[in-house]
């Protein structure tokens, strides 16, 4: 359908442009704002892929929590750093390397059909059954990882550590 193609093309364009803008603007706070737009755009792509639960999760976790967390980090460290001592000076080489890698990824997808294929959505009940029964071990591991990360983060920022 033409409407889907237009929706995907505009969402993809916005995603690429905002991701680039986030890395190229001078002010760190503007970076955070661009990356927030990027996360919201990806959430739109998930809705397009008939995965509304993931889209909402992307909005809540990324566009909400991660953005606020990054903004908090910028506000705490702001007075000392500025965004533009930033570059490592290997810009062109990195650009070539990244482009080659990106092209390689696209070329290696040669077995993937290029004509339109209907997208299949899943009921949230099916998803939750998979998540909590069949793939339950992954969720358990995620919880343990988060617990360890929480302890590590508290250890790193605690007062009076010298």
């Amino acid at each position: 359908m033409i409407l889907d193609e237009v929706a995907f093309a505009s969402l993809a364009a916005i995603a690429v442009v905002t991701a680039l803008a986030a890395l190229l603007v001078r002010e760190l706070v503007h970076t955070i704002l661009w990356i927030a737009v990027f996360f919201v755009t990806l959430s739109g792509i998930y809705f397009l892929l008939a995965a509304p639960f993931l889209g909402v999760l992307q909005l809540g976790v990324y566009a909400g929590a991660v953005t606020i967390l990054l903004l908090f980090g910028v506000m705490v460290t702001r007075k000392r750093i500025f965004s533009r001592e930033a570059a490592t000076g290997i810009g062109p080489a990195a650009l070539v390397l990244a482009s080659v890698l990106g092209i390689l990824v696209v070329v290696s997808a040669s077995g993937v059909p290029t004509q339109e294929v209907p997208i299949r959505g899943y009921d949230v009940t099916v998803l939750s059954t998979t998540l909590f029964n069949d793939d339950g071990a992954w969720l358990l591991l995620l919880g343990l990882t988060m617990l360890g990360a929480l302890a590590g983060a508290i250890y790193l920022v605690r007062e009076g550590r010298e």
């Binding site: 294929v117 209907p118 099916v126 590590g152 983060a153």
Partner: protein
């Protein structure tokens, strides 16, 4: 029902991965590095969702389950990364990764 060519999504994912790698290679600001990693991880998550959506069998829903687990992992990574940013800023007065030469802060 929506129908789109799968290769388009993979091309987008490849482009985002390239942008993320470019950022990781060229930036020295810790927060910009974290953001670059987030862009690259989002490209990977998009791949899981795309193949899950096109699988067309009940097994395809595993792609979305993996995406949920990966979103949680990426959020955890940001939390730990920002804790390191705060510790680095307190110890060195700067979050330029080129100046962070000691593992012990």
């Amino acid at each position: 029902m929506t129908s789109l060519p799968p290769v388009d999504f993979l091309a987008l994912s490849g482009a985002l991965l390239a942008i993320g790698i470019f950022g990781i290679l060229t930036r020295r600001n810790f927060i910009l590095l974290l953001i670059s990693v987030e862009i690259a991880i989002n490209a990977a998550i998009l791949n899981f969702v795309v193949f899950g959506a096109y699988a067309g069998t009940p097994a395809g829903v595993s792609g979305q389950a993996a995406a949920i687990v990966l979103i949680g992992l990426a959020a955890t990574e940001v939390a730990v990364g920002l804790a390191i940013v705060l510790a680095l800023n307190r110890a060195r007065g700067s979050i330029n990764v080129a100046e962070a030469t000691q593992l012990k802060l």
